[in-house]
Symmetry: D2
Subunit: 370 residues, 4 copies
Amino acid sequence: MNAGIIGATGYAGAELVRLLQAHPGIKNLNAASVSFEGENIENIYPNFLKNVSCPLVKPEEAIARSDVIFSALPHGVGEGYAKACVERGISFIDLSADFRFGDDEALFAAWYGQRYKYPELRSRSVYGLPELNRARLRELAADGPVIVGNPGCYPTAASLGAFPALAKGLAAEGATIIVDAASGVTGGGREPGRAYHFPECSDSMSPYKVGAHRHSPEIRRSFAAMAGRGGVCAPGVVFTPHLAPMNRGILAALYIPLARAWQSPSMGNAPPSKEIAAKAAEIRRLYADFYKDELFVRVLPEGVFAATGRVRQSNFCDISVHLDQSGTMLIIESAIDNMVKGAAGQAVQNMNIVMGFEESAGLAMIPALF
Amino acid sequence: MNAGIIGATGYAGAELVRLLQAHPGIKNLNAASVSFEGENIENIYPNFLKNVSCPLVKPEEAIARSDVIFSALPHGVGEGYAKACVERGISFIDLSADFRFGDDEALFAAWYGQRYKYPELRSRSVYGLPELNRARLRELAADGPVIVGNPGCYPTAASLGAFPALAKGLAAEGATIIVDAASGVTGGGREPGRAYHFPECSDSMSPYKVGAHRHSPEIRRSFAAMAGRGGVCAPGVVFTPHLAPMNRGILAALYIPLARAWQSPSMGNAPPSKEIAAKAAEIRRLYADFYKDELFVRVLPEGVFAATGRVRQSNFCDISVHLDQSGTMLIIESAIDNMVKGAAGQAVQNMNIVMGFEESAGLAMIPALF
Amino acid sequence: MNAGIIGATGYAGAELVRLLQAHPGIKNLNAASVSFEGENIENIYPNFLKNVSCPLVKPEEAIARSDVIFSALPHGVGEGYAKACVERGISFIDLSADFRFGDDEALFAAWYGQRYKYPELRSRSVYGLPELNRARLRELAADGPVIVGNPGCYPTAASLGAFPALAKGLAAEGATIIVDAASGVTGGGREPGRAYHFPECSDSMSPYKVGAHRHSPEIRRSFAAMAGRGGVCAPGVVFTPHLAPMNRGILAALYIPLARAWQSPSMGNAPPSKEIAAKAAEIRRLYADFYKDELFVRVLPEGVFAATGRVRQSNFCDISVHLDQSGTMLIIESAIDNMVKGAAGQAVQNMNIVMGFEESAGLAMIPALF
Amino acid sequence: MNAGIIGATGYAGAELVRLLQAHPGIKNLNAASVSFEGENIENIYPNFLKNVSCPLVKPEEAIARSDVIFSALPHGVGEGYAKACVERGISFIDLSADFRFGDDEALFAAWYGQRYKYPELRSRSVYGLPELNRARLRELAADGPVIVGNPGCYPTAASLGAFPALAKGLAAEGATIIVDAASGVTGGGREPGRAYHFPECSDSMSPYKVGAHRHSPEIRRSFAAMAGRGGVCAPGVVFTPHLAPMNRGILAALYIPLARAWQSPSMGNAPPSKEIAAKAAEIRRLYADFYKDELFVRVLPEGVFAATGRVRQSNFCDISVHLDQSGTMLIIESAIDNMVKGAAGQAVQNMNIVMGFEESAGLAMIPALF
């Protein structure tokens, strides 16, 4: 099978090149770039020397030669390529936001400042969080080409952290869930800018786009879908992103008010009680059970905290489960590599599902500790 | 005036040495250390060569020669020195938790696993957050020696971020405030350990002691005192600390549910509206006004986000004020240098108040950007 | 085939576990640890959860069940296991210094403070730098079990940088080669210590063991062997290691005085001339030609400088070739990942050679840029 | 006294603002910027809020209102301002390279690609390394305005490391000194670029401009002047700069072949002998004695290695003295903060000398360890 990548020279595109080059089911890789057409990708990424040697072609050429297309273009410019792929009968896996909002064009338009070019394409699109929508991905794929709206990095970490609580009725009805998250600097992409200039972001933590980040409506939609699985109302969401002085990784802390049935009797200002530890252990088992068949979600044992360093360069999402000392607030810490499970790795996972490969094909990287 | 430091060789102690050495009102510095008695501090901290050359003496000796004593000992071992100081008629500024809980011995005992040795000392002790308790510090000082319970680093960042909202009635009655905070690695102190081993904590973010950190009851007490100023009930607190790959700094994100009168009409899942921006600006002005006479609190203008890098090696607390897109949640980002405003700098500030110096004496460091 | 690892819980051991677990030719992995016998390695390295689940056994047990043994024990404690392996007829790949000095027991003893326990084992041992000793490794393997003295991290980076210059007569006869190198902090191993405590080593550069590092005689021996290939006298070596604030990687700068025939006419204090650029290009071609069949050495094109970030988590050695502006000094910059090509990866490469696998088996990791 | 800064918004300019704002002898600070004229510097550097509030004026205005001018402009654009200052009778301290080469216009032109605009100004200019040229600075100042060519960051670290060896005849006649140095990323300035983009330079080491850096001829000139003090020929210099993943600091390793009289008998490949340790101690004492009256040079005791972290945010140059195990090569490690002793701090030191302040005025910052 041959795969194509449009927008191969950005960070997510280059990460796709790296993963697909090592994918056992991909024979030829057709990398396309508008900015660098004609150059070889190893000149732009010398880390690829002796490994990946492919001339950058036009997007149309990559589409013509491939059995599946990945797009790592910015938002709002790839719909035409999606259309071309569907017309050719091949699937299109899009890392931009263009296909993450399904029928809700108004919501997309409100946050991204433009309307859909080909709204009809949404009948073939799925929000590509495999743990949530694997069945739908397979169903659509059985029937023709699929357009995958590959989730954003923050929504991936947040959604996997909240899914069991929402689908199993742990979260209080009508609650507002707070998602406080930190990202590594690769999340800002390849273009240099003051915010990502080493002297200004290293050795420092700061928030950005507070109350205004475009991943906010995406998280809300994803939480709503998950709550729907448990027959619960969609929760409110407050999401705040931060920039942390590291290369890769997202750590999301989720604060989920517990339904009364799941609360432990409050201890006021006392240290955490045995009852609370027991309740936390119960919820941890529920989480572990919920994800027991998932290859890429690891619910950590008691005493091990989710850390971005332990999922670096892997497709894992690590989740640690905690209770606040008052026994009323579930605290979930969820860690992913923003470039892998938060972008290119999840895209490959989606391709594996859609194209009928083993879901873990090309994604068997064991994370190092450092 | 002569000052003494007990526990001068830990990180907070050494930072005190550095600040006091440059303090215009301090003539001699008497540094004491049990572990390194007899050595010169410049052998332990070669960064002090040519600047600070003082032999490390016994604590008793430092007390005998000083007009004020700082203690940077671990929790539970310094009360005897405090007693000796009060008996000698000199003030004692304690960086441990021993004097942060005032009359509430039970709460201290529950979290720190021991009772007060000399409970009666609390009649002369103050929780040393100057912005909250400056008047009380002066009142007690007018009348004899003072014991200052210098606040913890997380409680300092959290309290300064919440104070205006609590004292001015912005926070909803009965609300739970979430404090999600990240600390630099110096917060773990001078002793090497796996959690602070460079390969295990660099380039990674992770939480620790979730639902169980000892700063949790301290934050709750401080919030209660602040709410009392506004005649409001004490809020609930959920506090989660994280370790960030940087040396210095604490960034605390506070999620404060707004009282109805302060809410902006909710916009559901829409991007932030003009009304919300206007409401945020109004709250920002209220914060700026609240702190207008404070030397060390900077309420940042719109568009500037609190960043630990911009307060590094200074006594500032930078606060940025935000509203969630739903208009119902106040989000405060509060940044300090954990070793300065979060420890040694605040201790010097407290000394300045108690001893009648200019409050900014020895604390005029202008932070660099990097 | 089954492989065993003795000392599996140190950093190099854990990296071996990670690489061998993904090796296509290894069926079972027998990990042994004296300190953690009976525990499962995923409890010590939670990054291994869902990937590597092996109980830690006794070294003897690992030897009994394996077809090849890796040893990541400290210097001076593994010779007995080497003997046991040879007696069982299986090869032993040793990451310590015990088998790096061959017959030169006196040199080993001078630097490591102990004598060989079983000197006779050296008749079956090879210094395992494949680019230098591949033929000898194969020759010995054809004939029985092999003991591989896997090179140190600094000697690997330095040797690969110097090999063409020494074997092809570029280096001036009798010259002293300066090796100025910087290592990431993982080089210090898993045990926490002040030098590797995040606040003391992050955001700082410093040398250590100047003029006294044990890799110094190893580099000298390796250079001598390489010079011997070109019929040249062994050069003098001055080696200085530094600690850099990064996790992985060694960057070695080599200063090699050129033989007269290779010098470009000196330009005094002028900027680099065209003649110098041409001579540098000639030497770069010679280097590229020298290594053209090597899988893991990349001689970089003009304008690309060796960087540790571009070989991270890979088995590559990246080499950039430069001339000083005077035209008389060859400057080579050589970058490796200290834990892969500098330790576990090279050990796997040696195993592949000795056991008859493809030399790149299990080592096909494409480095990311970040 | 009033001071002016032209080019106040670059990193070196902002560091000057920070230091001069706290200088006891400076009353008003006139900051000028062509790019940001009319704005307040605290909008560009919010770290200055509540500390430094000065509107950015035109250079001409800053000159008209000041008693001394600092220029932190790029190379080749400030000579006109220097002329204006001299004509007004005020001194001009230039952080660019324009006045570092004195009469040697040809050398400047060869490396910087342009000729002097006003060659005659060199009669009033001094290379401003105070430890070398303090007397000349005073002499010229006694007599009228002075133009200071403030040294580059690498030349400062290298020169202070080599000075005693050159002036006291330790270096072998005709030797080539190798300077292998690493710089923090602030050395690249405020403008974002790919090389300084966090994901591309963090957690990585690499060289740049090998054999072609403009500080190379400056180091050579400075070494020549120093050798001249000892009546020795100018040594050859090979200089290689590296980029290290840290904010501030330069660490320079100097390899200085010893004159025969200073060599210790060679031990071949043996570990360092007592004789070598004794010889190193002798040279260390000589260095300490050489610098005994210098405020800002610290020759470190045995066992303490120069580290950039220990001079951070200070004007110190830390020097550690070592011998190679062969006893023939002196190895000096020299650490400075590139933005302070390597730029703004040294400029203030030069101003102090020229204007008759205490040499340490405004420079009494005690470095922290972290």
